[in-house]
Amino acid sequence: MTLGIEVNGLRLDYGKFAALRDVSFKLQGGKIYGLLGRNGSGKTSLLSILASFRKHTGGSVAIGGEAPFENARIVEQVCFIQESGHMTDGVKVRDALKLAASCWPNWDDDYADKLIRLFNLPVKKRVMALSRGMKSALGVTLGLASRAPVTIFDEAYLGMDAPSRYAFYEELLNDYMENPRTFILSTHLIEEVGSLFEEVLVLDEGKLLFHEETEALRSRGAAITGPAEAVDRIAEGLTVLGEQKLGRTKSVTVFGALTEEKRKAAQSEGLEFGPVSLQDLFVHLTKKRGDKQ
């Protein structure tokens, strides 16, 4: 079972501060989405609204065609895992798992056991006694084993060490293939997770900057390298996201569709074209004026 999400003109105010402004998008069910944004861009606010942790100020949200807030039919289908989590510190890990098992309709005990072994989770320890990495591992175990049709991880795996994070990515992908559902991953570790995303949403200062298929977004950026004068000629009229210069060699990162004419001209001048990573695109697109100086 998968659920789609539709957001229209979403607004969230914290007093006089607008955390989200006129955000609209439509997510098809059964895909892995990446939600990217700088600190304070509104990612957690948006995800909190989707998970009914918070009521929005304006606009509308629909999950599976229904408004999610205080809607029992929908909230039991949306699992939201944050890094610091919402588990009661005083309870033991096995009790946190027991609570989750009793709450999520699609909970898979066998899969939870497998993940407990994979991450070496100490089930007899209290949550407060767990290291940051182990708390993250417990969070991703709860999220994956919930098998919720909409599963959201908000930096949930940040505290895990690299081997555990890669084990998580592998598990997520395998489980997604076997049990298709909608995943939304919010992260700053774009290089690591970027390959999982089918579509990417980029938030900046509370506004939705982009919502595109990952490959389409990547193909809109290119790195052009070669003699400085030739590079400048080709880059003229294009949106230059960043540039680096070493001696007479220059490399620019451009954003926007390159015409065939420009491409041919560049090739005839011996310029090199390279792909731009999702992380580089994200960094350039969300750079503030202050950062550029």
């Binding site: 942790f53 918070r54 205080e70 919402h86 588990m87 009661t88 009793s102 709450c103």
Partner: protein, 248 residues
Amino acid sequence: MTRSRKHPALIVAGNLMYTYRWVLATYWLVFIVIYVGIGFILRMNGTAGGDIDGQSIWEGAGSSPKIFLMVVGIMMTPLSLASFVANGITRRHFIGGVMLVIAIFAIVSSILLTVGYPIERAVYEMNGWPLALKNPHLFETTRQYGWIFVESFLLFFAYFGSGWLIGSGFYRFHWRVAIVLSALALLPAMAMEVVLYSDWMGQLLQTAFEADRAPMPLALSLSVIVAALTAALNYLMLRHVAIKKKLI
């Protein structure tokens, strides 16, 4: 595959009961041991003097569980709401579950308090001590177990509910506002004391408000209204509350 699951309010109640089971059991064990010990020492040594002679020791036992349940009530929302909402439970069902827990804890505590009276009477009779109640109650003798239970239940429910309101206030509002609301949150407990005129506090409040003891049917009706208001006020405070990461 989707499993059938219990009603969400029952899930909340079951998990809270499981979480607090040892707290409740340990409290009552320690409380009974201490209370019986104090009563035994007072009686055997006659250290209490004339004031306590012939009075039920157990009659005063209700004060401590009331405060204990109020403290448990204070912890309900700040410690548990976020973890239930994070597990796909609505605030509405959380409130329903907590109401069930309040009722069950109040019932268990009331049964234990009620059972104490015949035990105390047996001890008094064995030793040939006179036994009398000091304060007015819904019951007139320590043999009216039904009324002892009803009075205890209503008081425990109200104190637990007041504690829950205090905790919800701190979760919902800034602490400065919550402190002011805490005073108002005590109203259900105080109202129940006035209605039931159960011990010194009820007596004091009735004197302060120049209120007469309400007739039994009215007292019971008012008690039910106080309990319903407690639930309604919590619902009003929590129905749209944003889930915070960590309060404590």
